[in-house]
Subunit: 463 residues, 2 copies
């Protein structure tokens, strides 16, 4: 069969499959006859016949002799979309991240969780790539070592020690991303049916990631100084969780910082309950005055510390890491090899160059200043619209705001989306759906005046 014919058949198959997955063709629905389909989409009868037969072979459609073809999708075992609470597209976290990833240049993304490309150290990355083009051949073509680049791990250890986290390079495992770091720890520490605690609100991908592990997720209300400890203690006695995932400094989405007293009491609870705390610290370098981390209080005992460079250097260069108690390194590394056969040596080399040639330090100094200016401007403009910050973040890009009385964030998001603006309504971050009147803003994505005009309009429409 000619390639052209092959791809034509594939096109027809996709046209039908997509209608099925999008829901516009439901299970049991009868498909148009082969002839009428061939007419409608202007292809030969033989092409449609072949397409129908292959879709039938795939179990996507079924043929009833003498009657025609009918939709019959077989569903897989695990579908996050199905296992998640049914949400409108506009407030479905999965969809928000995918929208933000796919959004074109003209779309505004105050709801997305990262910085604009123009804020990243582009020149430094270009320089690092040119340097990499002269690296030794092993760096270019060989597998990374199981833990990943030693020089990079040594630098990361030094950086953590500066934050009072006692660690050595042998306790650091490089990963592809912060997400992969948490995923590995979940594989290592929990099994289906276990309970894991998260904050309410928290980074929405924690919900999706934990659903992928089929664990029971329990959300503990978050206060401006950290999780509500009375409810945290109650969650422990009610569910005996194995794990708690949080950001201890620059919390996503609230921008709040955990107080030393909360941290201390939280650790005592975790120790009594023999549960592990995963401290996701990917926003660490945005901080202006560092506060002690949970990992510093516990010396990587009950606490495992993870981070990455996706928010600070590049999301295209994937590089994260786990800082963990020594006796877990071996097992976690086996898991990393088994499930990914090691990380990207190239990405690690690139990050190493940017950390050692001064690019990173200079870039972050500028970024912190720029973010604090944007934070002030965005806060002022939002307050003109009576959108009030829940806390005044000390640093970072996130502003967690309450909308004027009675207005639902999901409604506002829907209206704004029509104007090509992707917002992040509060319930996307709330397992209990109790943040309906909140919205997470990214102050680095709010320079365009269109946003505020559209917001003003949306608030009016929705009030």
């Amino acid at each position: 069969m000619a390639n052209g014919e092959h791809s034509l058949i594939a096109k027809v198959m996709n046209r039908i499959s997509q209608k099925i997955t999008s829901g516009s063709l439901n299970q049991g629905t009868k498909l148009p006859s082969i002839r009428s389909m061939a007419r409608t989409i202007q292809v030969s009868v033989s092409t449609v016949t072949e397409a129908y037969e292959r879709l039938a072979a795939q179990g996507i459609i079924r043929s009833r002799p003498g009657s025609g073809y009918y939709v019959a999708i077989s569903t897989p075992l695990l579908s996050l979309a199905e296992s998640s609470p049914k949400l409108d597209r506009e407030v479905d976290p999965m969809w928000i991240s995918r929208q933000s990833m796919e959004a074109g240049k003209d779309v505004l993304k105050p709801g997305c969780g990262w910085l604009p490309a123009s804020w990243m150290p582009e020149a430094g990355i270009r320089r690092a790539l040119r340097e990499l083009s002269r690296a030794d051949s092993a760096s270019l073509v060989d597998y990374a070592s199981p833990l990943g680049s030693l020089p990079l791990r040594q630098i990361l250890a030094r950086r953590l020690i500066e934050r009072e986290i006692t660690v050595s390079a042998e306790q650091i495992i490089l990963t592809e991303s912060g997400t992969q770091a948490i995923d590995l720890l979940c594989r290592f520490l929990v099994k289906a049916g276990d309970t894991v605690l998260v904050d309410d609100p928290c980074y929405f991908n924690f919900h999706a990631l934990l659903r992928a592990h089929r664990v029971n997720v329990v959300a503990v209300p978050f206060t401006p100084t950290g999780p509500d400890l009375e409810l945290f203690a109650k969650a422990i006695s009610d569910h005996s969780p194995r794990m708690y995932i949080t950001n201890s400094a620059i919390h996503n989405p609230t921008g709040a910082v955990m107080s030393p007293n909360t941290a201390h009491r939280l650790l005592k609870l975790a120790e009594q309950a023999e549960m592990t705390i995963i401290e996701d610290d990917i926003f660490a370098d945005f901080e202006r005055e560092p506060v002690p981390r949970l990992a510093a209080y516990s010396a990587l005992g009950r606490v495992t510390h993870i981070s990455s460079f996706s928010k600070t250097l590049s999301a295209s260069v994937r590089c994260g890491y786990i800082a963990v108690r020594q006796d877990w390194v071996e097992g976690l590394t086996d898991l990393k090899i088994a499930t990914s056969f090691g990380g990207s040596r190239l990405s690690a080399e690139l990050v190493l160059t940017l950390l050692t040639d001064g690019t990173y330090r200079k870039h972050m100094d500028g970024l912190r200043a720029r973010l604090s200016r944007s934070m002030i401007e965005a806060t002022a403009k939002l307050e003109e619209l009576h959108i009030k910050p829940w806390v005044e973040p000390k640093a970072g890009m996130f502003l967690w705001c309450q909308l004027p009385h009675g207005i639902q964030a999901a409604d506002v998001a829907r209206v704004a989306l029509a104007d090509g603006i992707v917002l992040a309504p509060g319930n996307a971050f709330s397992l209990t759906q109790s943040a309906g009147s909140f919205m997470r803003f990214n102050v680095a994505q709010m320079s365009d005046e269109r946003l505020f005009r559209s917001l003003a309009k949306a608030l009016e429409v929705c009030s």
Copy 2:
């Protein structure tokens, strides 16, 4: 506390932790007193005190008041090493891959599963990196789109169509590696306790990967034309498996090719049993005369096709992909985002360049010729030692050989390792440990005469 002091404490902690994980300090063993430890390793008493206290806080050691400190490791939930059959280090697959990844320049690796760095298209990669340093900023700093680079997926689709696999770019999901591709499919299709079929022998990382998913792995004996279909049918009726993972062309470790008849009957069995076949085709481009793939017979129905460029272009640039039925794309992509928040855009750009600028095609033409020469040479040299190929591979780098009568591959591997040679004894690939007299050789890693001298010696010692 000074940073120097911090890192000194960490050093002491590691020294002890490593002794514990390596097994030289067992659970319950009493540690040296703080003073004697301080003397032995030449650090201050306060440093050792601090290190002991932190190890105690980590639950790695326990203090018994008035008696001293004792080893008390807490084990995690999932440890692949523990869940795998107890093997000597020399035949432990996990260990072989890690050895091969860590091995220094002077070590010979005829047991490893990839090509020497000098065989990879180094110049092309350097050129591609320089080109990438001039790419648009989005490619350098932004997240990839959920499915990954469309231009790359379009090229991959065309390449698959050339192999008679009917697919469109919308059915291709980019991943970090072939391993991550299979891992995603396992998450999507199986749950703990399900049964998955593999070949006996098969690529050893399948065992580790499947253990990480806590599934029941059943191995079906592999013949020179594919799996033994009678035993395959029996395994289906005995275990009603959900999935089967194999390489249909250039099988690892045997180098055998599945016959069309076996493929056809295998697919019928899979369709009756409603099980999914994962076709891992990472050695596809080594083939000299392409044979039809399972994915071509089934039009991506019962069969999901995965591959990567780790074996052909670079293992440092991580880029693999899944070609899958349209109605699974959405769910798999959600899982990919949830567990890794997308792949490396940079790696995809790099692979795209190498596929489009002609580097890849030229490189593979040369590689195929070079491999067939090496295959002939290695076969001849091994036969001088009465080491006989099980089949004569049509292509690829692997030679699955039977050792002279009565000689155990594990013993030979142990002797060779003393000479700095990492071999891959048969049982590393055999779930049932029934390949004790076989050895997998990588003909691309056998140019050094030391290997054959050492092999000759080892055979003599072990016979």
